[in-house]
Symmetry: D2
Subunit: 344 residues, 4 copies
Amino acid sequence: MLKVAIVGGTGYTGVELLRILALHPQAEVVYITSRSEEGVRVADMYPSLREHYPALTFSNPDARELGVCDVVFFATPHGVAHSLAAEILATGCRIIDLSADFRLQDVALWEQWYDQQHGAPELVDEAIYGLPEVNRKDIAEARLLAVPGCYPTSVQLGFLPLAEQGLLNGQNLVASCVSGVSGAGRGVKLGSLFCESTESVKAYGVQGHRHLPEIRQGLTRAAGQPLELTFVPHLVPMLRGIHATLYTEEVDLGIDVQALYEQRFADEPFVDVMPAGSFPETRSVKGANMCRIAVHRPENGNRVVILSVIDNLVKGASGQAVQNMNIMFGFPEEAGLQTLALMP
Amino acid sequence: MLKVAIVGGTGYTGVELLRILALHPQAEVVYITSRSEEGVRVADMYPSLREHYPALTFSNPDARELGVCDVVFFATPHGVAHSLAAEILATGCRIIDLSADFRLQDVALWEQWYDQQHGAPELVDEAIYGLPEVNRKDIAEARLLAVPGCYPTSVQLGFLPLAEQGLLNGQNLVASCVSGVSGAGRGVKLGSLFCESTESVKAYGVQGHRHLPEIRQGLTRAAGQPLELTFVPHLVPMLRGIHATLYTEEVDLGIDVQALYEQRFADEPFVDVMPAGSFPETRSVKGANMCRIAVHRPENGNRVVILSVIDNLVKGASGQAVQNMNIMFGFPEEAGLQTLALMP
Amino acid sequence: MLKVAIVGGTGYTGVELLRILALHPQAEVVYITSRSEEGVRVADMYPSLREHYPALTFSNPDARELGVCDVVFFATPHGVAHSLAAEILATGCRIIDLSADFRLQDVALWEQWYDQQHGAPELVDEAIYGLPEVNRKDIAEARLLAVPGCYPTSVQLGFLPLAEQGLLNGQNLVASCVSGVSGAGRGVKLGSLFCESTESVKAYGVQGHRHLPEIRQGLTRAAGQPLELTFVPHLVPMLRGIHATLYTEEVDLGIDVQALYEQRFADEPFVDVMPAGSFPETRSVKGANMCRIAVHRPENGNRVVILSVIDNLVKGASGQAVQNMNIMFGFPEEAGLQTLALMP
Amino acid sequence: MLKVAIVGGTGYTGVELLRILALHPQAEVVYITSRSEEGVRVADMYPSLREHYPALTFSNPDARELGVCDVVFFATPHGVAHSLAAEILATGCRIIDLSADFRLQDVALWEQWYDQQHGAPELVDEAIYGLPEVNRKDIAEARLLAVPGCYPTSVQLGFLPLAEQGLLNGQNLVASCVSGVSGAGRGVKLGSLFCESTESVKAYGVQGHRHLPEIRQGLTRAAGQPLELTFVPHLVPMLRGIHATLYTEEVDLGIDVQALYEQRFADEPFVDVMPAGSFPETRSVKGANMCRIAVHRPENGNRVVILSVIDNLVKGASGQAVQNMNIMFGFPEEAGLQTLALMP
């Protein structure tokens, strides 16, 4: 059994890793850290895990203990992986980082958007961006893996086939996305209160959200040329789920877009191109490591509209992290990830 | 007191008219119809109205009874107002139609989108489109008034200042909108069940929604030239509210968009241009006859992004209907419409 | 116009007072305090109030400023009213306290349940408990009024007719109640997060909730003998509303309980005894100052089951506070309180 | 692999069976029926199942096809299993009935509560009530198994240890329960609409719910004497979950109730007695086959209050059905049932 450690296990991506790994046939969580909850049993914090983790207890992070594991997941705020990564890698342990610390390949860009100094610029070059549908081979070799953000996963997968075919060449892509409240994390903030977020919708980050440079980096790589987009995230009153509605500029009407998408993702276990005319619902992926995509052409104009849904905590975070782990360690890619969505 | 009748009073726009008119100082609901609920007391169907309508009872529609009133509201599926309007107008009674029957000025277009023959083409010319922020003067004289749809209200008000200034001239406007479930009405449909719509988001009508030609008609009138847009509505798990996120093409950076919007709506009692940088929440208009708008310029590109929120049942339907009634009968425009949003 | 001050205006009962008083024909909020939000405009904190309070700004509490008003509402945590009440009363200003500071007439009991010293024991004797359905006459004369808690309002009104008739004499009453999340206030606590409270139900305070001694005090007074009950509150995923399900022991089957309730509340503007067989829904009072009650006799056994619903922020707090104000100042009892529930 | 058929697979218990059985290592759904959806692919009706059931299609029920299977699950309205059971049993196929058809051992009582003639009285004697915590041995031998109702599962498990010890002997038990909306099924009814059930709570069935005689039958059997209770179910705005709050009469204070419960369920894989002082949340069992129970003694009085939570679609229906299947066919009782709850 692979020995797994989780740094920062008290947040929603941490508990989601615990949920997924509890049933993984080849991996086992043996160590979990939290400074604030040191000594607390996981089972007491998350009663849903009582049967599977009767004894696991939060510890203060200790690099030696981490180094004994085969892989360390970081489910931490940004900056933490920066400070611990080098020491852990030196022990031969591999890292899967769910934070934003190693997602951007341009250090200056990272510093601009995260408003602080980059803590490990020397590691950026070897960090692999973990979107398996794009760079599965690099992932297999990765020592330091950066799990994509939730919005970037849904938006990149949605635009990918058009971008790779050179069909997106303008400056006017639009990604209008909505997310459930778990995307804001387990931090205790006014805006995350039930009474402040239920029965309401609001946009945020219109001036520029931290996921924007990550999306641009991925699309530009796929297209082989700079692409620009306007990205507006919104908060909607549900627990889990991202719905990305993607608008292209005019696209050559001669293309069979449906066939293009079906072929592009035909062998992908975790991308589902739905039949023409479908409207994917976020609940169809609730709790599941899956991205469902539908492609539409509105009756007026020559745009393509792509609808792309994921569970932000699964394909948008912890599920994708385990998918990367499976690739990195040569396990079947679906191991531990076959759970079906809860519907209703 | 103005004598008011409501045809089709069992749906959500019907009960919302009852809620608003209960406290109106110059109008009184004296007659309400429903074929399916004939003989049922309004108070038994809607316990929230028990104190204010102890005796009002649903009747079968009767043109003579309707004709005795000063004004008839239609809160019916499309087609009903077509069949009754001429007879009612002949009695001197005025009509405020919340259905789509008289919203489009092009009869052929109506028949194409509603997939049936237009039932009263001879009345189309005199029907007035009831968006007070655009044609308050015509409304004052109207005998037959068409209340705008919910999405068209939020989208038109959001684009209006730019359209009127000739700043929208492309074919690439995008309106990405979300609506609460009450927009689907009180009809008993699978997709409107709690278990089919909560904890999920989905798009619909991407191929072409019936509100699209209405929005195009309004924007084209405002701009003085044909405008095209891609309109994608989504269903989100809340009761009330529409959040319209509007994306322009490149707009001349020399314009002070915030000032343009503030000036345009300075005298409008039911449009609130929020301070620069604001993110209007739909709950801030829940139950209130108000459209709140914020204008943004993303850091990258030259687009303008406009955020526009309404309560689909109030400014998007019954509140706007009463606002039109106030204008038509010379009452203060705010009469009966001062209720503040419930927040939380 | 009555000059009103609100101390502690940033919480949910504070904003609800602002919402209700905005449309009150005889009262006006002229002063509002908050230490943490000093200098912030009410309109910026609560966009729903933008139209009605364009200039009102939070101040640091100042006893002289408060003394210039006719009445001060306390919408504060417990202990605050204790410390300011004497000074304010000395100026001739009257006090309506929404906190628990003056609800219990037994100082020792208060100290036991609130785990701190009582800060104003000398004022307890003159404090009037503001349940108008019980002691309207005393309220009219009150200088210092204690607004009942939310659960105590729904439970006391539900048991009242039976208690007053001496029909409750056992030790086995049960009050099984559920509340929306707004009952937990606007404080930033983990358990009040959307992701911690939606899609879930849990009980709390089974060992003993602070509202228990208040309920016992009221029922004992009504019955003229000590009554005991088991009270279990639960949190359910909605914004507003309390549903109290009350179980008596065996009650003499000879009584027409429905008639008893109808007669007891016949003249009460804010208690609605629904027809026999009804199931009051909390949404039927959402935003309204109303308690709806239905009485049931299960087919087996001789118990009576009473269902009692209120909006915890209105009849359970701020609406009842204004109702008390109306009585204290000789206004019509319904002034400012006629708003109908939002349904849907 | 066990060949499984599902009759009536379009409802929520049907799709939940599909979800659970998709990952069962020893069973496979090979046949599913629905009259209304004949010819429709399961994957098209429930997109969440697309990966696991690409080809399975609804058929008209055919007794011969059913007879080829090893076990038939009925996920149908009551009456259907009555009409098909004998014919299916005759083929040697075993039956697990999720409907109420065979839950009551008293035919006359069944006919009284279900208001129709019993369709298979000759089978009642051999039908086994499938609550594994009570009669696991009988279940192993069952040909015809009746899966308990959702409320009866949570209420019986909650009272069981006290009932079996003879500690409940009065007529005054109370079960005050709340359920998520999925308990009402997938039928298209006004009361199940999102807009009719969200942001509200209501009681129902106070005069007598069909689950009442089932609960009484089970508690009477456990106690060895007739027990009576008042049972009030409520609807709350969430998808899944039942929270049962159970109130006893006075119970001998000498008993260590916590220890009693822990011992009674020590070997049960799907009942979790939480630590003293706990408040089980329904979300802690969302999607999981688990009943979590906590026992409380309020500070006043000698009652015991038991809190018992399940997912109504899992331990309250389809999960318990699979648990019974595992016992009937000698599989490990946890096979296919280890999925952890989604939290958040």
